[in-house]
Symmetry: C2
Subunit: 231 residues, 2 copies
């Protein structure tokens, strides 16, 4: 046995090999179930989610699926968390690569538009969930509202930074701008997914430009690309 | 018997008294069922509607309720029709009392805001229904989309008239304005009903003013208060 080997215990000494593997496999299975549940929820809604249907999709027993979640509510909350993670990965984190201010705000909106294009085929849990849980108090509604508030805060901060950088006018109302952007995203979802109206994407983009035009600072100052705390 | 009496037969001759009353009573019952169904649907969604629940609310037998509707789909379509009628009565018809152009467009938006205030307690079938039926083709989805397109056309025409009257600029894009107004209404619903955010009504109103400011014709021409065909 080498000297190094005496200093660095083999993995099975640190953690029994079998239980480590079993743990990893369990986590992978849970993650696969959550991803299948997200996919089902975007089409059927959070309330359309059932352990039985999920077991069928995963080709597992109901008890096998149930073992990973304490309850259907826990499963729904895991779906919301996972959906929010994807949302951050696709929309917010890439936008952070852009410099603060208008470039970042634009990137954020553009990424959102790209995501809506994907969601036309499925649906958005933040929109369908709001309809399902708007009058049902409880932990699922709380988790959903918490996730929505997190992205709303991030959007608000991006607008605020654009003001701080001097890209938007000093008198611009950041909360108002965030509200109007939210409206454009909801209208785009509604008109493309439900009414299947062509041209809605161009209208949402034009709406965003209209908001900026109204609030833009013509003599803007360049802002340093400092990182933002998100969410 | 007078001469007039020989010319004008009594009602029971024109139509047997009992069947007339029965018909009227049947129509009244059907209308009462539809109104109860609208009330349930705004809270539970169109898909939350069941003949059983409706029978319970109406204190009738299931077969009694079922006799008035060929199917659950027919009931859902009757609900959409009734909801649309109320929508016209509360939002569009009072707006027609205002003169064409900006006064009418403003009245339309104001009436809508008043309706949303009521719907915070219940819900809007046009919004919840879009989520429920966005990927379910069939007659219910068709009826819902038809109703939504009718109010969208009416809104579009109100914007167009404001352009024709010279209240909005000649280069104003009526479809774009209608899209942005729809966004404000959706955002207001979402932020008040789901997130229970205070201040959303003021933000929706400010958003409407922002849209007008961008498109307003400073030297407007007064328009005649000619009636509009609606829907």
């Amino acid at each position: 046995m080498s000297f190094a080997a005496t200093l660095i215990p083999p993995p099975e000494v640190l953690e029994p090999k079998n239980s480590g593997r079993a743990l990893l496999k369990g986590q992978q299975t849970k993650q696969a179930i959550v991803q299948a549940a997200v996919s089902l929820s975007t089409r059927l809604g959070l309330e359309g989610l059932s352990i039985g249907l999920l077991a069928e999709v995963m080709q597992m027993s109901k008890s096998g699926v149930f073992a990973h979640f304490g309850s259907r509510e826990d499963l729904q909350i895991s779906v919301i968390d996972e959906y929010f993670n994807c949302f951050q990965q696709e929309i917010f984190f890439p936008a952070l690569q852009q410099s603060r201010g208008l470039p970042r705000l634009r990137a954020l909106f553009d990424n959102w538009m790209k995501r809506v294009a994907v969601e036309i085929q499925s649906g958005c849990i933040f929109i369908s969930g709001a309809v399902e849980f708007d009058d049902r108090p409880g932990p699922v509604r709380d988790a959903l509202a918490h996730a929505v508030r997190q992205w709303q805060d991030a959007l608000f901060r991006a607008v605020l930074q654009a003001k701080e950088c001097g890209h938007l006018a000093a008198q611009a109302d950041a909360a108002q701008i965030a509200f109007e952007i939210h409206g454009l995203i909801l209208a785009l979802h509604y008109e493309t997914r439900f009414l299947q109206k062509p041209g809605s994407l161009a209208q949402a983009n034009q709406g965003f430009e209209n908001i900026l035009q109204r609030n833009v600072q013509t003599q803007g100052l360049a802002c340093a690309a400092a990182p933002t705390n998100f969410p």
